[in-house]
Amino acid sequence: MVPLNWYLYLSSVIFVIGVVGFLIRRNLIIMFMSIELMLNAVNISLIAFSHYIQDLKGQIMVFFIITVAAAEAAIGLAILVALFRNKNSINTDDIAIMKG
């Protein structure tokens, strides 16, 4: 039997990779995907918990997270499209008119 902690380690490593991806990539889509990575990492840990503590709430949670992720994707990408129309770029360097 795989210990629970293994899953958790895996989850947190992927989570942190997501974080790092968000922090270092300039491309908005990749950043967005990094966020998806983080969400998936959380999903892994939730399902693992759900399994090990013998409770289905974790899985339900994952279900909702996936739903929300879908909604987020729709909206996020829509914003991205709108932005791209005006800016012709999806690089974060280019979307820094507001600062200070």
Binding site: F22, L23, I24, L28, M31, T92, A96, M98, G100
Partner: protein
């Protein structure tokens, strides 16, 4: 009677208000009528007061309570006793004469009404001073006369020197008042009252009492006495606060006569005499008073030797004579001091008014070197001036002689300190005779040395001026006759008269010695007059030679021992330097303002810096968040165990 005495100070006060409010537009050139009326009333009532006192009635009553704060109770009240009565006479009579004199002297001045109202105000203040039955009212009069002096010295305020002189007088006096005020407070603290009667009744209980000040035990009575004496030093222009009086001559001459010779400057002497029960209890204080007086009189007399400004010479002479009075008080001869005050008032006022008369004729010229031979142009002035000079020189029979000899004789009797001050006093008597006659000879004898225009202009003064001169001359002649000592067959009425207030000085030596002392001083005075005659009439070259030979001494004397310059550096310049360079420039602007403005500025800069961190780059925001997480987590782990 008590209500009537209220008129003494009030009538000049009322006329002051009348003149100052209505003078400019309504009364104008008739201001003197109102003013003289005011002073005249007080003079008359003062005579009544004198009569009352002579008949043995002494008044001490409160008019209304002025300040009541806890146990600190001050009233406005009158104490009319022998001392006050004499002072009243001196003040009101001289004031009246000066008022009359001013009618002629100030004629045509644009501030005519203002001048008279100031004089009234002064008279009021001086009367409040002498009438007071408590220290704070004395202080009120004290400051008020200072104020009037300030106004009158700076009367011609467009002249910078006049304005400066007024300011100087006021501020220098404040130095004295500083001590005086502290003395008053100390008296209140330890006696619990500042009424004369309470003070004199309880002051004995303070004997041997010391207070602890910054590590020293100081005898309380001595301290109080010296603090009070501080005030006297300021007001009566003694060393080291004498510097204002010569400058005060910037004021109109009648003012010099009234305020800076006869009345105000003698307030210090009056006060010391008034507090004789206190001073008597402290030997040190007495010694200080005597020595200060003696040294001042010598110091001022030496300066007077070489000055050329007629009013300045008389001013230094005043300083010197005031020193004499303090000398008297310091040796316990308060009666003699007051006697001298009284005679001095007449002959010194006369000298000033005479000088004023000369100035009037000379169109404001003050330098005696540029006068000469005025005798024939203005005989009344000459003769009265001569009488005054003889009187101040101490020629027997005249007023000055009696009072001065009383002082010298009593000093002679007063132990070792007394001997020293007697010696100084005698020397000063000679010097006094010399410089007084220096004026007489240079101004009135010989040939006229001024310009032709001046010569053309020379004339005797109008009656309004000469009449007061004559009256004062009578005073200078005869005022001393109330104090003829027993050795000369008199009864010294004034001394006995004042005894209830001022006490009786100890006299141990014999009559023959008194004659000896008297002879010495007369001889020295005569010698002074002779030398003066020799120098300025007989061989006018000698003074110039002397000035050349003893150039250094001459310079020091001519520059008044450089005291003014010294003070200028120590007090004035350094204060301004401290103020501008250090306090304003450094402490306030750099340190405090630096902090006050610096903190917001630093915060603002920091804000600018932080705002730069907000780059607009999405990742940086993310990094911020991650970093925040990191920091918060770390701190939580560290802080909460």
């Amino acid at each position: 009677m008590q209500e009537l005495f209220l008129l003494i100070p009030l009538s000049p006060l009322i006329t002051f208000f009348v003149n100052i409010i209505f003078g400019k537009n309504y009364i104008k050139d008739n201001a003197h009528i109102v003013a003289i009326l005011g002073v005249g009333v007080s003079f008359v009532v003062s005579i009544l007061a004198m009569i009352e006192v002579l008949s043995g009635n002494v008044y001490n009553y409160d008019v209304y309570s002025w300040i009541v704060s806890g146990n600190f109770k001050v009233t406005i009240g009158f104490l009319i006793d022998q001392l006050t009565a004499i002072m009243l006479m001196v003040v009101t009579s001289i004031s009246l004469l000066v008022h009359i004199y001013s009618v002629g002297y100030m004629h045509g001045d644009k501030g005519y009404y203002r001048f008279f109202s100031y004089l009234n105000l002064f008279t009021f203040s001086m009367l409040m001073l002498v009438l007071s039955n408590n220290l704070l009212q004395l202080y009120l009069g004290w400051e008020a006369v200072g104020l009037c002096s300030y106004f009158l010295i700076g009367y011609w305020y467009e002249k910078k020197t006049a304005a400066d002189a007024g300011k100087k007088a006021f501020i220098v006096n404040r130095f004295g008042d500083f001590g005086f005020g502290l003395g008053v407070i100390l008296i209140f603290l330890y006696i619990g009252s500042i009424h004369y009667s309470d003070i004199f009744a309880n002051v004995g209980g303070l004997k041997g009492h010391t207070i602890y000040i910054l590590g020293y035990n100081v005898d309380l009575i001595t301290l109080i006495a010296l603090l009070l004496f501080c005030g006297a030093v300021g007001k009566s222009a003694q060393i080291p606060l004498h510097v204002w009086l010569p400058d005060a001559m910037e004021g109109p001459t009648p003012v010099s006569a009234l305020i800076h010779a006869a009345t105000m400057v003698t307030a210090g002497v009056f006060m010391v005499a008034r507090f004789n029960p206190l001073f008597n209890l402290s030997e040190i204080a007495m010694m200080v008073v005597a020595l200060t007086g003696a040294i001042t009189s010598l110091f001022a007399a030496t300066i007077a030797l070489v000055q050329n400004d007629i009013k300045r010479i008389i001013a230094y002479s005043t300083v010197s004579q005031l020193g004499y009075m303090f000398l008297a008080c310091g040796v316990g001869a308060y009666g003699a001091g007051i006697f001298h005050l009284y005679t001095h008032a007449y002959f010194k006022a006369l000298l000033f008014l005479g000088a004023g008369s000369v100035m009037h004729a000379m169109a404001g010229e003050l330098d005696i070197q540029k006068m000469g031979g005025l005798k024939k142009y203005m005989p009344v002035t000459y003769w009265t001036f001569l009488i005054a000079s003889l009187s101040i020189a101490g020629i027997p029979g005249l007023a000055g002689f009696f009072s001065k000899d009383e002082i010298l004789w009593l000093a002679y009797n007063a132990g070792p300190v007394g001997k020293v001050v007697w010696l100084i006093g005698t020397v000063v008597a000679g010097l006094t005779a010399f410089y007084s006659f220096r004026i007489v000879f240079l101004a009135f004898h010989g040939n006229f040395r001024g310009t032709h225009e001046q010569e053309h202009h020379l004339h005797e003064s109008p009656p309004s001026m000469t009449v007061p001169l004559i009256i004062l001359a009578i005073g200078a002649l005869a005022a001393g006759w109330v104090g003829i000592p027993s050795v000369l067959g008199g009864h010294n009425q004034i001394g006995h008269f004042l005894e209830p207030v001022l006490g009786h000085p100890n006299v141990s030596a014999s009559h023959s010695e008194e004659i000896k002392v008297m002879a010495i001083s007369v001889a020295i005075a005569s010698l002074g007059i002779f030398i003066s005659w020799f120098f300025y009439v007989k061989k006018p070259i000698i003074p110039r030679l002397l000035a050349r030979w003893f150039n250094n001494i001459y310079k020091i004397l001519w520059n008044k021992y450089y005291v003014d310059e010294l003070y200028e550096y120590i007090f004035v310049k350094s204060s301004f330097l401290l103020s501008r360079a250090f306090l304003i420039g450094f402490t306030d602007m750099k340190v405090i303002e630096g902090i006050v403005n610096g903190i917001p500025k630093a915060i603002g800069r920091f804000g600018g810096f932080l705002s730069k961190l907000q780059t607009g780059q999405l990742q940086h925001y993310g990094i911020g968040m991650a970093l925040g997480l990191f920091i918060v987590y770390t701190i939580v782990l560290i802080l909460t165990k």
